[in-house]
Every structure is written in C-alpha cells, then in structure tokens.
Symmetry: C3
Subunit: 109 residues, 3 copies
C-alpha cells in the first residue's frame, strides 16, 4: 500500500477526480489554503496498492501537467490603456507536485 | 513514532476526538472536502509512539466502524407519494479508512 | 526527498511561510480545524531534499517555538471586577509539532 499526496491546481481538480473515479481509485480532497506558494491549489490523498501507483501517476500527469495556454486580453476599461496588450498572451497553467509515501499498515473499518 | 491518517465520517468525528483525548492521544483534524468520494468526511492526523498504535486503531474502530442503521421514513410532503416508504429503512453509516505512516523524525518545539 | 508535516499556531503561520519562502522552500498550508487539540492551528506540508531538512526544522523552530508572552490585562467592563488582574499576565504561545516523513517517489509534472 502507498499513500499518494498530490498538490494540483483547483482548475484541474474536478477532471482529475473524475478520471481517478473512472479508474477505481479512492481519493480524498483536502482544503488547501496555499499550494506550494501558488494560490488556488487542492491536495489529493490517494491510497492505492503498490501495483497501481504508476497508473495513478499517469492519471495525475495527464490531467494536471503544466502547459501553456493562450489567454484572451482583458479590455482596459478602468485600467491603464498604455499597458493594454491587444492580442492573446501565453500563460503557464496546471502543474502537480506529487509525493508517494510508504504505508506501514492499512485498514478499512 | 507513527503518523496515523484516518478518514472518517463527519458524524463520527466528535465522539472519535473525545475518545482519543480521553486516552491521551493528540489529534489534528483537517478540513476534507471529499472523503474517499463520499461527502461529509473528516481527516484526522494522530501522532503516536509505536507501542500505542493498536490502542489508537481500536479507538478509531469502535467509534467509526461501518454499521447498519434504521432511518425513519421521511414524510412525502411536497414529494412523490408513490415513492413513499412507510417503514424505517436500513442504511450503512460510518466506516473509516486508516493509513499508518512511518516517521523518520519527530519534534515538539 | 522528505515530506515535513508541521502543525503550528495560526499566529505564527504568516512569518513561518515568509521565512520558508526566503530560503527557497516550497510549502502547502492545509486548513486545520483543530491542531493537536488546541484551536487555531495550521498544518504545513513542506517537501524538501534530505540535505535541507535541518534548515527547514531550524526555520520552523525559530518562528514557532513555544515561548512566554506578557498579555495586557483586559478591562473588566461588563465583567466581574473582583476577578480583575490589574497587571500583565504571562501566557505560553506558539509551539510546533513536526513529523519528517520518508518519501518513496517524488514528481513534479
Ligand atoms: Ni483508462
Ligand atoms: Ni479506555
Ligand atoms: Ni537565513
């Protein structure tokens, strides 16, 4: 048995949970008030047999991996028109920090 | 030293905490927003010497073990009278998922 | 790699986080609803290479160590004047409970 602790962005957490459930993983979400210093993160605890750790990691990676995303420019209403960028900008979203912890004993009562 | 991580139902958490305190365990409750996919769960972290792990597990089990419970029928006011069940129904409540984690170092500052 | 789990008082958590960041540690704060039975605690998870564990412990200790503090007396308005203590009283504040957990695998996606 292993306990996987994964810190992911809030925006990725719903699809991660859904994908985990589809593959019969059991996960607990912890309310996280600051995820490795970036706001808006969620911590998942996933208990799994050793043989399925790689599958869980694959699911976390495909749902949460850091990637570039184009963001539409925000209209400068009420802002400074001089700093207005009139084209989409690339930002990095997603990313996951994952710890696989050894487990001495596991019980389900 | 071991760190016990126990995910239990909200409805069992107050009596579990009280029983742990009565037996001199120190516990931290984490706000959990989804407990192994069932809503309304709470995660306890309990740090304890190895020799007392079994006592902690016994306390978790006796307060949280899954059991059948009869639930009084809800009156069908405003609902569909056709689906009204006029006798108590049995539902499963409780249950706990427990991980005992090894600890390399422990400090109290 | 190690995962440090530190339960500290809320009042120490901002300066702890700031000191950790200044020294390039990455930390996640978990919303804790009861910290080893005292209210108002925060749980930090800090992932770090083994070689930097002592530095992280030093930072936790210097920001959170239990210490005496003088608290100004509260004016007995609306209270019982007989129990009014007209001089500062010493109370213990701070303190940290810290677990260093072994990590089998670590990933950043
Ligand atoms: Ni699949
Ligand atoms: Ni007893
Ligand atoms: Ni320094």
């Amino acid at each position: 048995m292993k306990l996987i602790v994964a810190i992911v962005q809030d925006k990725d957490s719903a699809k991660l949970l859904s994908d985990l459930v589809d593959h019969n993983f059991r996960a607990t979400k912890l309310a996280t008030t600051g995820g490795f210093l970036k706001s808006g993160n969620t911590t998942f605890m996933i208990g799994t047999e050793e043989i399925r750790v790689n599958k869980a990691l694959e699911i976390i990676k495909r749902n949460c991996q850091a990637r570039e995303q184009y963001v539409a420019p925000v209209s400068p209403i009420g802002g400074n028109a001089d700093s207005y960028i009139p084209y989409p900008v690339e930002v990095e979203v997603g990313g996951a920090t994952v710890f696989v912890l050894p487990v001495d004993q596991f019980y389900h009562f």
